[in-house]
Symmetry: C2
Subunit: 127 residues, 2 copies
DNA sequence: GCCTAGATGAGAATAGTGTATCATTATCAG
DNA sequence: CTGATAATGATACACTATTCTCATCTAGGC
């Protein structure tokens, strides 16, 4: 998988912009759907290719939740975690993080990263 | 998916026992591999069926980590989370949990559950 | 405007998981 | 011991997510 040699196209612009403007992580399908409104006939392959390139550039990051398709979001949001609504299945960012994680593991274990995902109902679905 | 009408077989015993004795969550393949040592010719279908029944009984619980096959572990361990070694890919239990999660989400959101997964090197791989 | 290599889109191909089918085997009540 | 029927195992099938192929299109240097 090599870096895309760069050429400005409307499909890439559309995808980049959708990702840039979204306040929550989007799956490939959500991306396709949203970007297809701007570029007619947009295909999945292009979405995958562009997402791959953006990941390579470090412009976006993957958000993985078990049993769910991978979602992507802007990389410049700082450390945060996610919340998935059990009703509408959308994923939201949540600010902040727990910092006493180190204390949880046995002494010889080395922690490099961590994921925290909360599940429940989002504001819209909770009423 | 209905409850299995119960009949004692060596394959079920083997699977139940492997799960019972394992100190860490096991995937279907790990289960198959481990139980096949006791019951020759054990098939995947039986593993899936048995796991399904045990889940239904509440005897085991699913442990899901993004991009990884689902693992299963005894349900009577109490609340805890998991650690995955980035080298050997095994998953370990970690005791304890962060309790100030409620403070992280916007006020209208309702939290029902949460997952915390740490990644790094296990004691064996860290040296 | 022309040309070429990069980019695209449609669909085929792949990979990983889990379920359904069905002939055979084995449990266990009587 | 025997028979009814649940359980098994091999395999086909279904699904989803992602990659590949390749003919066609197009951005952009000249």
């Amino acid at each position: 998988m090599k870096t895309q040699p760069a050429r400005k196209t409307k499909q890439r612009d559309a995808l980049r912009e959708v990702l840039e403007r979204s306040e929550r992580p989007l799956s490939v399908n959500e991306l396709l759907e949203a970007a297809a409104k701007r570029v007619d006939g947009l295909g999945v392959a292009t979405v995958y290719r562009t997402v791959g390139a953006l990941l390579g550039d470090g412009a976006i990051e993957a958000v993985e939740i078990p049993g769910e398709p991978v979602r992507y979001e802007r990389a410049n949001k700082g450390h945060h975690h996610h919340f998935q609504c059990e009703k509408c299945a959308r994923v939201f960012d949540i600010a902040g993080c727990l910092e006493n994680l180190r204390t949880l593991v046995p002494p010889k274990f080395r922690i490099r990263t961590h994921d925290v995902t909360l599940y429940g109902l989002c504001a819209a679905c909770a009423r």
